[in-house]
Subunit: 151 residues, 4 copies
């Protein structure tokens, strides 16, 4: 695990299991969403105040801006078992482009550390009033700097 | 809050919000399920080992037995806001009958303690091999004893 | 089935099943939400145009008004099996009060008609700009009239 | 749209919307699951009998075999609006390998046909008793034959 990696505990829910008795593949994508929100904060304009996120890139979005998922890619390596122990999600930044951000994840069993999924998400910031994507700002680059793998 | 009450922190998920921007009414019922599992343990035969529950009534069910929900009743008192701070769920036992158990809940905002919902669930234990409901056993009554409100 | 009853087909999803292999108790409450939306229309201000609802009470809410769930009550009568055949939900109005509406449901297996749950929901209409509940209007009473059981 | 493509209507749910008021990115992956189940049938051993699927590859799996998702890849092209009109999902087979199957999807708005997401899923069939992946059988290849794009 490189030094740029944030480790986030994502609690599982009993209802995440499907009829096969493991965490459902779709719920793994929900866990990715939760890890992003824990790392970058709830997107501005949604929800109410909570714990401060370690890298509050979402919290500090300009008014009227949505954090949109442009791409999700998940490779399921082994079934994720439901436990009352949270899954351990390693999350980092893979790439900062002009107007998008790629996040990487490794999702591990919270007890034995087994790798259950490797994944990535491409994010873009959409400014509703103007109908345009925003460029990644200097302030955002600064916030993300310590978390870019291989930078 | 009476002395028989367990207090459980249930983490919210960003996706629990609906288009109105609050935790959806259905997801409040999901939060009740999570509070039960945290209090009584994941039902035997589902998931893998985790933290021990304070009142492991579900964990110690006889093999082939399912914890079934017979009734859910929720009164929504004020909208539950999404936060990265968990909801605070007070949970207790309202009644232990011959073959069922009634659980009570108060669901509160994790920051200001505001009451968001009052609820109850009737549970029964179904023994699949015999196709019959099980009577609440002496061991279960013993486990539950300290948590029966007004007992 | 009385003449005031609307019958709504609600498609199930494979992911509605939990680790017990039946439709999860929380997802039954989701099915109730879906039946309400099919009967009364998607609440004004959410989503985009679709099929017209038979009793468009939600669709025609004044701007800035939310349809809030004040109470949910579900009695689970037998496990609801997942099938690619939709569940059959009978829905009617139990009561129209000054500022609330009670809806009743019977949720049945889509193949054999077995009763799986009986339920009710109390709804209120919240006008955000003024922070007040709206009284049920004469127009709403007129729309609902044919669906009030025992009226 | 090539001749090998199946077109599946997947009903949306009001609760699929998130706080941004569009179908949540995770729920798009749920819609992919639903389209697979509609096309290939519910996996053997889960749920009860329903409509026959057009290409019953999942329904006819040998006993004790699970259809596992090995990989999901989604490119979100434009927000998917919630409507009471089902999403239109085009689904086809991209590749049949020795022990896996790649499915492709285009997810479109059910009214104006706008492309909302392009996606693919790699599936493998896991035989629980032996703990091994099954090879794609001659019967499965035969069933899938008409749906392999560019074959």
């Amino acid at each position: 695990m490189s030094s740029e990696t944030l480790v986030i505990d994502v609690p599982l829910r009993w209802g995440d299991m499907d009829a096969y008795g493991h965490v459902n593949n779709v719920q793994v994508v929900r866990i990715m969403e939760e890890a992003r929100v824990a790392a970058f904060g709830p997107p501005a304009g949604t929800g109410e105040a909570g714990f401060e996120a370690p890298v509050p890139v979402f919290t500090e979005l300009p008014e009227g801006t949505q954090a949109l998922v442009a791409e999700n890619h998940v490779k399921y390596r082994s079934p994720l078992a439901y436990r009352t122990v949270p899954a351990r999600v390693e999350i980092w930044v893979e790439k900062v482009a002009a107007a998008s951000l790629t996040v990487g994840y490794a999702i591990r069993d919270g007890v034995d550390g087994r790798l259950c999924a490797e994944a990535s998400t491409v994010l873009a910031f959409f400014h509703e009033p103007s109908g345009r994507l925003l460029r990644i700002s200097a302030e955002q680059r600064e916030l993300l700097r310590g978390y870019v793998r291989g930078a």
